[in-house]
Symmetry: C2
Subunit: 556 residues, 2 copies
Amino acid sequence: MSRSAAEQPAVMTIAGTDSSGGAGIQADLKTFTAHLCYGASVHVALTAQNTTGVQAVHAPPPEFIEQQLRSVLDDVDIKAMKTGMLFDAKSIRAVVRILKLYYSDRGRSVPFLVCDPVCVSTSGHTLLQADAVEVMIKELFPLTYLLTPNKSEAELLLSQHDLQASIESLEDMLRAADDLLKLGPQAILLKGGHLTVSMRDVERITLSNPELRVVRSILFEENMEILQVAEPDPASKEIVVDVLRAPSGTTLFARPRVNSTSTHGTGCTLSAALVCNLARGMTVEDATREATMYIHLGIETAVPIGKGYGPLNHMHSLTVRSVPRATASNPHPFTRLLIQGTAGIWKEYVEHQFVKQLAQGTLPRECFIHFIKQDYLYLRYYARAYALLAAKSSTFPSIKSATDTIINVITEVETHKAFCAQWGITEAELLATPESPATTAYGAYLLDVGLQGDTSKLIMACAACLLGYGEVGLWLKKEAARPHSWVVTEGNAYKQWMDDYGGEHYQNAVRVGIETIEAMAQADPPSPVRFEEWKGIWERCTRLEKGFWDMAINLA
Amino acid sequence: MSRSAAEQPAVMTIAGTDSSGGAGIQADLKTFTAHLCYGASVHVALTAQNTTGVQAVHAPPPEFIEQQLRSVLDDVDIKAMKTGMLFDAKSIRAVVRILKLYYSDRGRSVPFLVCDPVCVSTSGHTLLQADAVEVMIKELFPLTYLLTPNKSEAELLLSQHDLQASIESLEDMLRAADDLLKLGPQAILLKGGHLTVSMRDVERITLSNPELRVVRSILFEENMEILQVAEPDPASKEIVVDVLRAPSGTTLFARPRVNSTSTHGTGCTLSAALVCNLARGMTVEDATREATMYIHLGIETAVPIGKGYGPLNHMHSLTVRSVPRATASNPHPFTRLLIQGTAGIWKEYVEHQFVKQLAQGTLPRECFIHFIKQDYLYLRYYARAYALLAAKSSTFPSIKSATDTIINVITEVETHKAFCAQWGITEAELLATPESPATTAYGAYLLDVGLQGDTSKLIMACAACLLGYGEVGLWLKKEAARPHSWVVTEGNAYKQWMDDYGGEHYQNAVRVGIETIEAMAQADPPSPVRFEEWKGIWERCTRLEKGFWDMAINLA
């Protein structure tokens, strides 16, 4: 399968519109999008419609329907498709003609065609002319993989062929599904939303038909006593049962009945969801279980829209990413969001007076000495934080990565001691230095986050230090390279410090750090709550970093 | 704002279709859905179209366009709308007539109308007849909040009014945006995708126009040196600049240029995204920044579809929920998924031989004694796990909740000791009992998860014990209530144990436990990776619980 087909299989609807957006092609495209499928659509008819009824219908000529189908099929690799409102016999013939031309005539079978035999709108408007029903049965059903009638549509189709039509019980549904199968489709999903049944009925029918499979969604599932809501007589509770008659056998899909007026477009949405699930390679049973739950939750989570029967909620299964996908032009979206989201305090940190004075060579010697002494004490916390990270890690690579950082810090401490010696500070003096509150605050916060959170939080806590010094190093390097720069490099006692943080060695560590947090955010896209937690830790540490340099400047 | 308007503001597109799904109304509906807005659509024209070109156009009569608009506006509270392909003068007049009737004539202004003045398709097909341009300017522009022309559309509109038309530089864009504003819209977003410019041009124009604001998306943002990809001459890199001329001033929106053929439907998608952002109450500047980034990422993450200029990816910002929303019929979706996802091992746990023999009164006395001794040792780990949870908690209610559980366990241990005494086990014997490997494995695993993970993982680790014993208690209670039950209550030495776990006190704790993990999954919807981590811990603990009863049966 190509990348596009695996990520976003292309599907198509051949149907009518609903201007108000709850049913028809609009519902199909919304459902396709909610299933992350790529949707194409062929317009057989337009309706001026809303939640109170259908006000007008306009149908383009059959030739134009044919041309739309050709345009799609010439260009897009359709994995599954559906038909909805087909309006009249001419339109059906146009659709069948093109499907045969592109598939049957070329020796291929039509990819999963779900036929929703829409005949009458909920509000009673005729959406399929009388003479068209027989054309649909004769010409379209043989190409159909799955037919999805409701009670009245099934009754209409059966009566057309003088089969016993009336459907009033589960037994009637089983018989009707069997009979509908004789009309040509490979499988039948007879929808039971217009029938009132209970689990008692399901138990009765499975007793006399032991080969029946039953899928109970949110209903009396095994070993879930703790989730059953106490009811006086659960077996008589009203439920909805759909019957799937497939070559692999017959399955009843039972779920609780929802009392709701938000049912506009339920049939369109169900068949569109089935198309997406089939396009992804699900079995017809799995596709049905998932699609029926999708509409069930769509009805139950609907928000009120319109004055009549409102649409179901097509978007209940979606969340919007807090961190965009990484792309070539934006390879580090998470770090970018962190910096953007804390721009003020981040600027105060990386363009701190301490840094500016240091770069100009005007930083008082005692401030720098205070800083490097406290930095020594801070590094001990920092090493311990990575030791805690190693202890919290669950793979050898992540244990090694954290351990490498500890080793790096220990090596850095040796360099640090040599550096301090140049400034006249002995090791004994370093060890005897009392810890400033700013150092304790920052160091203890790292370990507290490490105790409280998972590895991701601890990684976030350690990031502000690593990335901030990297930013300072690069900024000073860039500024120093400008003509007549304010950065003093000749005879600046702090030049080595600047060179270290702007240098390749440290910048490599920064790159690894950025890749680590980006990989984390892409692999486990954070919810808004989790994103705020991560950003909160980043911001706290940015503030503590600023506080560290405040401390150095103020000799606090 | 009503619940629906806040959660899913209703928006409308008045435009033409693209059967292949990448542009037009299809792109609009996909964009609306990706922005979690409720979309309605009025079809002005249908096209048979694909990524290689437009093959045919069909337009319904103006009266039918009017009726579609009436159907929507009579029923749905539209917060913002857009126009796309309007095809001809008659259609435009029909749209304007209805908008005036429903808004201007009633003394209300049209809610945020974004007019995308589509004239010619990318492939060169005329989508707006020549005489219609003037009608659009004269009649539709006065109702327009934001006009979004590209270079050629702007040139066409300006030449129509004998204004200087040619747009070849940023300076031309500023002048053109000013001139277009005179044609009636309240704001102009002049799109720069067809112009080649660089940051050097932006710097030049901001020098001579210091009042200009510049929004740089993924470009040279301040204090982000660590994210700049090294380039020989970044200032001359090709970028895209859109110019927004609004009452509040002029803003340039700069972003990297993406070399891609996946640009079919970019204009439609941009205006649809603007509509959603305006409907949510964003300023026009914020709406533009977000919408331009949406199409930028849409182009960059596009998957190949069709043979020509493929569509952008409308779904890059979406993820599908791992745990469904909680609803009235399914108040505990997370717990349900956990049990469903580990059904086999869960059943082996809650219907364990130990439990069955206990319920029948046939469990050997030494097995039960071994069990309650080890249970005593396990409870010590369990109390410590909650102590760790308290230490990891960040609010007083969560600290209290964990502490309450410790107290409950300590109280339970007293009862446990009394219970053991009834079975002839002294406290000294309890303390001297060597710990079985199954006890150590389970207890130490709890503390290990507690060390490794955040509070959510520790809560998951403690859930299998709480919920499993609850399930056993309810199951045995239900089975005992059946006529001729296999559960023996009369003279069963283990009756009290069954009564305890089926009783109100313990079941209350189970309910609180379920609510806790459900609230956790709803507040911080887990990514697929995180969901699998949670489920993995649940499964491990289920297995360890089963191992605990194996140990009791085998006296291991």
